[in-house]
């Protein structure tokens, strides 16, 4: 069944199973574009990035914003309970989100209990014509409760793919797809047209991935050698040469001039991801939305501490390739002792200047000069430019650096991230992103879901490094 034949608004309670790249977002856009009622359709998804991505798609499709209300499940839950604090009877503290790990679960529980009690049913019926929930496989149990009770009030259609459920970690139990989701939201249809690959002229790859999905879903392995030649490449990586082999894979040339490459490394090893980004020409990392390293630097950085220069240089080294910090330190030492034979370079002068008069402004100048050194390349641009931005905000003296960093983080969380042409990350970080080529550097320890998500990121080409051609 093609997307045109499915109207999500006709589904009053059900699931649309949507394998990767099969036109799920298009389906949502079509439903909303065809919506003419005075009441909007409520569209919920899981992450702010998801909201930003979906809004972008809807804007491009020309869907009038009056046709829908788009939010994360958690964002909507916060709005709901804060509008009816008396009926919800939650502790007002939880809305401050001081301890997210404690507060979000409390918010979700308060929200589904409020929905269950029926106090707001009439209001919701007046507010929305329909409910559509995207990425439903990522729903945690309490989020599923929220949608469950909403579905007793509003006609509800959920879209998702159990084979793309990769968010079940750290006590975030996902709703069981078969036991919980499909019993309440019966599967209405499963999408079977690999639009992403068809549109890229590689439908054969798309069909092969659908077959691979069936095998992985059935608990079987996939033989990479069965892939369509020219679209699926298996590169054997075995010690002791495995690192060089993986680096070679990371350098895969995209089939088109402006094609993008997603490089998927070990999710548990951030250092390895950064390392590959550093060593692969033109590659940069995709960072987690919490921008941990930005926050860490801005929290601990103090221009007046004796180690302030050390902190700046350590940061520079962690986000740029070829900065040559060891050499720089040696030169600074001889310069300050007056034993240096060569005059200081521009960057060296900046560093000396910072030592004499440490300030945020000189720190910014130093970082900019280091960036301008020959052969230097920023491989973690989100962190580097984020730090610069925070330093600039704070250098006006109006807000502390930590606060400036927090604003940078929230801004980037809302705006989403521009995808570099060659991006290094993990399945978690790259989920929802699309490129022409997807490169899996290591399949070791990947679950069937992680494997499927990683394999489906590229619309024209898939490159996999592994010890064996049989994966999963």
């Amino acid at each position: 069944m093609g997307p045109a034949e499915i109207d999500l608004r006709a589904i009053t309670r059900g699931t649309v199973t949507a394998p990767a790249g099969c036109g799920k977002t298009q389906l949502i856009a079509q439903a909303l574009a065809g919506h003419r009622s005075s009441k909007p359709i409520l569209v919920l998804t899981h992450t702010n990035a998801g909201v930003a991505a979906l809004r972008g798609r809807l804007d491009r499709a020309g869907v009038p914003t009056t046709a829908y209300r788009l939010s994360t499940i958690d964002g909507w839950a916060i709005r709901l309970i804060s509008t009816f604090p008396g009926r919800s009877a939650h502790d007002p503290e939880i809305l401050r989100l001081a301890v997210p790990a404690r507060d979000y679960p409390a918010i979700r529980d308060a929200a589904w209990r409020l929905l269950q009690a029926g106090h707001v049913s009439e209001v919701l019926k007046s507010s929305y014509a329909h409910l559509i929930v995207d990425e439903y496989q990522d729903s945690s149990v309490p989020q599923h409760h929220i949608v469950y009770f909403l579905s007793l009030i509003l006609p509800t259609c959920v879209l998702g793919d159990p084979m793309q459920a990769i968010f079940g970690f750290r006590g975030n139990a996902l709703a069981d797809w078969n036991q919980q989701v499909c019993t309440h939201f019966p599967v209405v249809v499963e999408l079977t047209t690999p639009w992403r690959w068809r549109n890229a002229g590689a439908e054969v790859l798309g069909q092969w991935l659908l077959e691979a999905r069936r095998q992985l879903a059935a608990g079987q392995s996939v033989d990479l050698r069965s892939g369509p030649p020219g679209h699926v490449t298996w590169m054997q990586a075995v010690p002791p040469n495995d690192h060089a082999q993986r680096l070679a894979a990371a350098k895969t040339v995209p089939p088109t001039a402006d094609g993008r490459v997603l490089i998927i490394a070990d999710s548990r090893n951030r250092a390895a991801q950064q390392n590959f980004a550093s060593q692969t020409p033109g590659a940069s990392t995709v960072e987690a939305v919490d921008l941990q390293d930005l926050m860490a630097f801005c929290t601990s950085f103090d221009v007046h501490s004796p180690d302030a220069l050390g902190q700046i240089l350590a940061l520079a080294q962690s986000v740029m390739t070829n900065v040559g910090i060891a050499e720089l330190n040696r030169r600074l030492e001889s310069l300050s002792r007056g034993t240096a034979r060569n005059p200081p370079t521009e960057a060296e002068s900046r560093a000396m200047e910072f030592l004499r008069a440490p300030s945020l402004a000189t720190a910014i100048a130093l970082l900019s000069d280091l960036r301008a050194l020959p052969n230097v390349r920023v491989h973690r641009p989100t962190i580097f430019y984020g730090v610069l931005k925070a330093l600039r905000h704070s250098s006006t003296g109006t807000i502390p650096l930590v606060e400036a960093a927090r604003r940078v983080r929230e801004e980037s969380r809302l705006l989403g991230r521009p995808l570099p042409k060659r991006a290094v990350g993990s399945t978690l970080l790259l989920k929802g992103l699309e490129a022409e080529v997807s490169v899996l550097l290591d399949t070791e320890g990947m679950s069937a879901q992680n494997l499927y998500v990683a394999m489906t990121r590229g619309s024209m080409k898939l490159v996999v490094c592994s010890a064996s051609p049989i994966v999963g």
Partner: protein
């Protein structure tokens, strides 16, 4: 559409406090003059109406005290979906419990979703319309209704000048009965041009001299105006504002020249058609300009006989209007110790039939509940005699008489109690041959009621024959004879076991100039023979009272006279 679930008024004109939960359909306010009925209608109009500027003055403040703000809050239910969305109105949506009239700050599964719209005017006289809820106030959220929502909610006022609604002006009901809009602009502009060109030549002939002078002067002064000046219709003077288009009859006569009554009936009918969009109608003095049959039509078109197709707020002083309404549509508005109260007349205790038969009673200040037709007739007759003598009539004293139609001795108290509960001053006039339950009568008296009962076991006929002078008693017998002929001889023979005749009574009075107590009792008994009472109809007793009883009062038994005096004394000292 929306319905007003609750009206709360504070410090507005004559009303210091009022909290009233009106009915979803017709709400007809009755009550003594100056009790604030029109103020209630004005409150609704001012709070809910779509007006950009309303002038308030110090006189609009209760007791002219401008330090206490005017506050009018309307709780609105039956809201359109667009007025109760989470995104736009979330923080202001509240819950209303119809059974208790309570408004809770947040919606609940057991309550209706409502909005509270408040109009506040403080000493600066600047009105401010806002939605209110406790939680929004706590969080400092302020919200007003959008103009389009206010236009949609605005009530239609069918006032004395209802002809406003007979053109397509802004706010006219005509704009609500359909979405069509006439676009006259193009046609009017063309007409204006045509008028301009066809008038041009005429003007030149009529104003030739002046034009000639202008032309010459301009040429002398070198002001270039061409060969000659022309007189044309000024295009700006041929313009048409809003409301250019209005309703006309087939003959082309504007409908606004219809009589007041026709206009009002028509507008009410149109409003009824527009009820799906705007459901609240206000009409002060609904009977204004209407004949009795048109009052019925007017109320009918407002949905008086249907299941609340729209919410209507009325005031009336017309018994004809009352007769067309049910107790569930009538509210008595009264000033009480702590503010105003609007009490539902309701349909209990046979009050509905009282509305039908004695609508005047609800418009009076004091009510005399009479046990039966005899008492009604007696009081009417006495009243007419007093009127002839130059006294003020009961009607002018705002006293109404209500007939209970006899029957059970407790019945008058049920009816009297209903009036009492509505705040009326009530008297019961009853006979004493069948006594009411003492506790019931005591409760009535305890609540401020007054009882006038005939003395020891007597019915009215016993009192009359027992109290009036012998001459008057003769007149009573003659009156009975004229009505019933020989039947009254029979009655007398029967009750006296053939021991007393009319002739014997005549002889007794003739010879002794008096009438014995025993004979008086026998006459009384005969006169109230079951199902054949000599004076048992309102008009018979009215005649008896007017022509026989009243003229005899000054010389008859003082105990009976005292009873009659008590009734008229009470009547003279009521609220007007």
């Amino acid at each position: 559409m929306a319905r007003i679930r609750k009206i709360e008024i504070a410090n507005f004109r004559g009303i210091q406090q009022l909290a009233w939960c009106p009915a979803p359909g017709i709400n007809c306010l009755i009550g003594p003059g100056d009790s604030g009925k029109s103020t209630v209608l004005d409150s609704i109009d001012l709070c809910l109406g779509a007006r950009r500027n309303v002038q308030f003055s110090d006189a609009d403040f209760f007791g002219l005290d401008i330090t206490t703000p005017i506050s009018i809050t309307l709780t609105l239910g039956d809201l359109d979906d667009s007025l109760r969305t989470l995104e736009s109105f979330g923080a202001f949506l509240r819950g209303y419990h119809a059974t208790t009239g309570a408004v809770e700050d947040e919606p609940s599964a057991l309550a209706e979703v409502v909005l509270c719209l408040n109009l506040t005017v403080a000493s600066d006289l600047e009105p401010s319309w806002t939605l209110v809820s406790d939680r929004a106030a706590q969080q400092g959220i302020v919200k007003t209704l959008a103009w389009k929502d206010r236009v949609a909610l605005a009530p239609t006022r069918i006032g004395a000048l209802a002809d406003f609604n007979l053109g397509w002006q802004r706010g006219s009901v005509l704009n609500r009965i359909s979405e069509e809009r006439a676009d006259a602009s193009a046609a009017l502009i063309k007409a204006a041009r045509d008028a301009r060109s066809s008038f041009g030549d005429q003007a030149e002939q009529q104003l030739g001299e002046a034009l000639g002078i202008v032309t010459t002067t301009a040429q002398e002064l070198g002001v270039h105006i061409g060969a000659k000046a022309r007189a044309l219709l000024d295009s700006h003077s041929v313009s048409f504002g809003g409301g250019t288009i209005s309703l006309h009859s087939e003959g082309g006569i504007p409908l606004r020249s219809l009589g007041v009554g026709s206009t009002r009936v028509l507008v009410a009918g149109l409003q009824r058609k527009a009820a799906s969009q705007a459901s609240i109608v206000l009409s002060d003095e609904l009977e204004y300009g209407l004949e009795p049959h048109r009052i019925a039509r007017f109320l009918g078109s407002l949905g008086a006989k249907e299941a609340a197709p729209m919410q209507v707020f009325l005031t009336t002083h017309s018994p004809v209007a009352l007769r067309e309404l049910s107790g569930g549509q009538l509210f008595v508005l009264r000033r009480c110790a702590n503010g105003h109260e609007a009490r539902l007349v309701g349909a209990d205790d046979g009050i509905q039939s009282t509305i039908r038969v004695y609508p005047e009673a609800f418009l009076a200040g004091s009510v005399i509940v009479c046990e039966g037709a005899s008492e009604i007739g007696l009081l009417r007759g006495l009243d007419l005699y007093r009127l002839d003598q130059g006294s003020i009539s009961l009607a002018a004293l705002a006293v109404a008489l209500v007939d209970c139609g006899g029957g059970d001795a407790d019945r008058p108290y049920a009816r009297a109690g209903a009036f009492q509960a509505l705040g009326y001053r009530v008297m019961v006039v009853r006979d004493d041959d069948k006594k009411p339950t003492p506790a019931i009568e005591q409760a009535f008296v305890h609540n401020g009621g007054t009882v006038v009962a005939y003395r020891a076991g007597r019915a009215l006929e016993d009192e009359l024959f027992g109290s009036l002078t012998p001459a008057a008693c003769q007149k009573l017998i003659n009156f009975g004879y004229d009505l019933h002929g020989d039947l009254i001889h029979e009655h007398l023979r029967t009750v006296s076991n053939n021991t007393l005749t009319v002739q014997a009574v005549w002889d007794e009075i003739q010879t002794t100039g008096a009438l014995s107590v025993a004979h008086r009792a026998t006459l009384g008994q005969a006169a109230r023979t079951r199902k054949a009472g000599w004076f048992k109809s309102i008009s018979w007793m009215e005649d008896v009272a007017r022509t026989i009883v009243a003229p005899d009062l000054h010389q008859c038994n003082q105990g009976f006279r005292a009873l009659v005096d008590q009734v008229f004394e009470w009547a003279a000292h009521g609220p007007r």
